[in-house]
């Protein structure tokens, strides 16, 4: 489904600030996999997502989705293959537009846009139903500006926007890290439900070992641009925080991944 081959990215090459963000990383992800990626700041997690989504281009290597080489495609042309949720709840929605308008835009992910109405009547009823299922009480606020929503509500709305079109690949970039613990849990549960109900292929970057272990069927640990650990299935199920501490204790403590 997703093939990442020998992906390499160096920032500020040839200067004193030179930083190898990803060093020849290869990962092959199967359809329906839910991969959690853990690592400290600067381990290359977000760079990995940025290279997959095309925010910037790699120095070497390939990104292949379902047999299509997207390595050189600009960000907006990859949109039809993937949905992405950022850490900052403000980044996933347009604040000055209404809930309904945001959903209308997400409905057209990767499609060409025309002079037809941005929100059709039938779709609007559809949005109302989906919002109701989410249980945040947003179904009565379709015509309200998104700027009035809380961070958790905005992140939940972003999740719903992703699921409208069910992209092949869902990229989650520490999407609960900026929320308070209670809201983070609710958003994470919602994420889990959406992924398993729709059998989405997902990559979730996280800072939190406990979260990386509890969710998903595969865990990848990045350290300074290299894969340090890659476990899947039963081995992943059996993996515990204690085990992680035993094997990578020094790095983990230094980088506060256990919090």
């Amino acid at each position: 489904m997703l093939k990442i081959e020998n992906l390499t990215k160096t920032f500020n090459p040839g200067t004193v600030d030179q930083k190898v963000a990803l060093n020849n990383v290869t990962i092959i992800i199967e359809r329906g996999d839910f991969v959690t990626v853990i690592g400290s700041n600067g381990a290359g997690k977000t760079t990995l997502l940025n290279l997959i989504s095309g925010t910037y281009l790699p120095d070497g290597g390939r990104v292949v989705i379902d047999g299509i080489d997207v390595t050189r495609l600009p960000e907006h042309k990859r949109a039809k293959y993937m949905g992405r949720i950022f850490q900052d709840p403000l980044m996933g929605t347009a604040a000055s537009m209404t809930i309904e308008e945001n959903l209308g835009m997400a409905d057209l992910r990767g499609m060409s846009r025309t002079l037809r109405w941005g929100v059709s009547k039938s779709r609007s009823e559809n949005y109302q139903r989906s919002l109701k299922e989410m249980g945040l009480g947003l179904e009565t606020r379709l015509k309200q500006s998104v700027s009035l929503l809380s961070g958790g509500q905005r992140q939940s709305l972003t999740l719903l926007m992703v699921t409208l079109t069910l992209p092949k690949l869902l990229l989650l970039d520490e999407h609960t890290a900026a929320l308070d613990p209670k809201t983070a849990k609710r958003v994470m549960d919602l994420t889990q439900t959406i992924i398993s109900e729709n059998q989405l292929t997902a990559i979730m970057v996280t800072h939190n070992m406990e979260q990386a272990i509890r969710f998903g069927n595969r865990l990848i640990m990045l350290h300074e641009g290299n894969i340090q650990l890659d476990i899947v299935g039963e081995e992943k199920k059996a993996f515990t925080v204690q085990e992680a501490v035993k094997r990578f204790g020094a790095t983990l403590k230094d980088e506060s991944l256990l919090g």
Binding site: E75, H76, R84, M97, L108, M111, R113, L115, R116, G118
Partner: protein, 300 residues
């Protein structure tokens, strides 16, 4: 005495305010919808006037000359957008470059620094010759044009492309991950914005009976003043209000200026007064809340 002079400025301010309202509407699209501080406006306003005047002077029908003015304004706006998106020139600088180059272009278009249209027929000549107070048909004409353009803008901004344009100004990263080429949206939006500005320039030139290469100077600041006044009076909650604010603001701005002139403000100090008005409107909230004013822009 004061109230009498207030009343006397109303018809003139309505005419002027409505004629210039399209500039404010254009600036709403660039500054408010796209969050792009486009300074092309000073040049594209005069461009509209220059194109329409030269064509009428050459015997082309006034309505056709307006169409040409709109197309030329659209082109100028698109070029500013291309300077910014393709050549990565800072948004403010791209507009200033375009505005400066348009000064030369406008002189070329007219072949001299101004063209008189008083002896030829314009779109407004039949209205001037009606057997009634000239203000009534002229104001009605500008009212109809402005309202039609406002409604068309409102409709456009609620289409799929309109949504994508609004999101480009609001959250560029987000709409790009949804598959929109935000560069194209910026180029197209600036084109539309300057098309409206050039339309205004063309209509003003036909109304006042001449086009002058300097007619656009200070237009951006005046337009901003109008928008800020309008937004204070009407609010910014919806797109419909945002565009209405441009029109109301433009009329009120002209009224304030006319009253100022009647009370003894020297015409030469007009731009100073307008600038101070904008500085106060943008600056006071910042001083009060110790944070940035309402104008939030990309690339600045």
């Amino acid at each position: 005495m004061f109230f009498e002079s207030m009343l006397r400025v109303i018809p003139g301010s309505l005419e002027q305010g409505l004629a210039y309202a399209l500039v404010a509407l254009g600036i709403v699209i660039s500054f408010r919808i796209l969050s792009f501080p486009d300074l092309t406006v000073d040049g594209s306003f005069a461009l509209g006037g220059a194109v329409t005047a030269r064509l009428i002077f050459e015997g082309v029908s006034p309505s056709l000359s307006i169409l040409a003015a709109v197309i030329s304004g659209f082109t100028a706006g698109c070029l500013t957008g291309l300077l910014n998106t393709r050549l990565k020139i800072n948004s403010l600088l791209a507009g200033i470059l375009m505005m400066t180059m348009l000064y030369s272009i406008n002189l070329r278009v007219m072949g001299r620094s101004n063209i008189q249209l008083l002896t030829v027929d314009t779109l407004l000549t039949p209205l001037e010759n009606l057997d009634m107070n000239r203000f009534i048909p002229i104001i009605l004409f500008f009212l109809v044009v402005t309202v039609v353009v406002k409604l068309a803008t409102d409709l456009f901004l609620h289409t799929q492309i309109g949504f994508a344009m609004r999101a480009t100004g609001d959250n560029e990263q987000m709409i790009r991950t949804l598959g929109v080429n935000t560069d194209n949206m910026t180029v197209m939006g600036l084109g539309l914005s300057n098309a409206l500005v050039a339309l205004s320039g063309a209509l003003v030139a036909q109304d006042q009976g001449f086009a002058d290469v300097g007619m656009g100077i200070g237009m951006i600041v005046a337009g901003l003043a109008a928008i800020i006044i309008g937004e204070t009076l009407v609010g910014t909650k919806t797109i419909q209000r945002l565009t209405l604010a441009a029109i109301i603001g433009s009329i009120v701005y002209k009224m304030i200026i006319s009253i100022g002139l009647r009370l003894g403000l020297a015409p030469t100090d007009l731009k100073m007064a307008t600038g101070v008005m904008v500085i106060l409107a943008l600056g006071i909230p910042a001083l009060k809340k110790e944070k940035e004013g309402k104008l939030h822009l990309r690339g600045v």
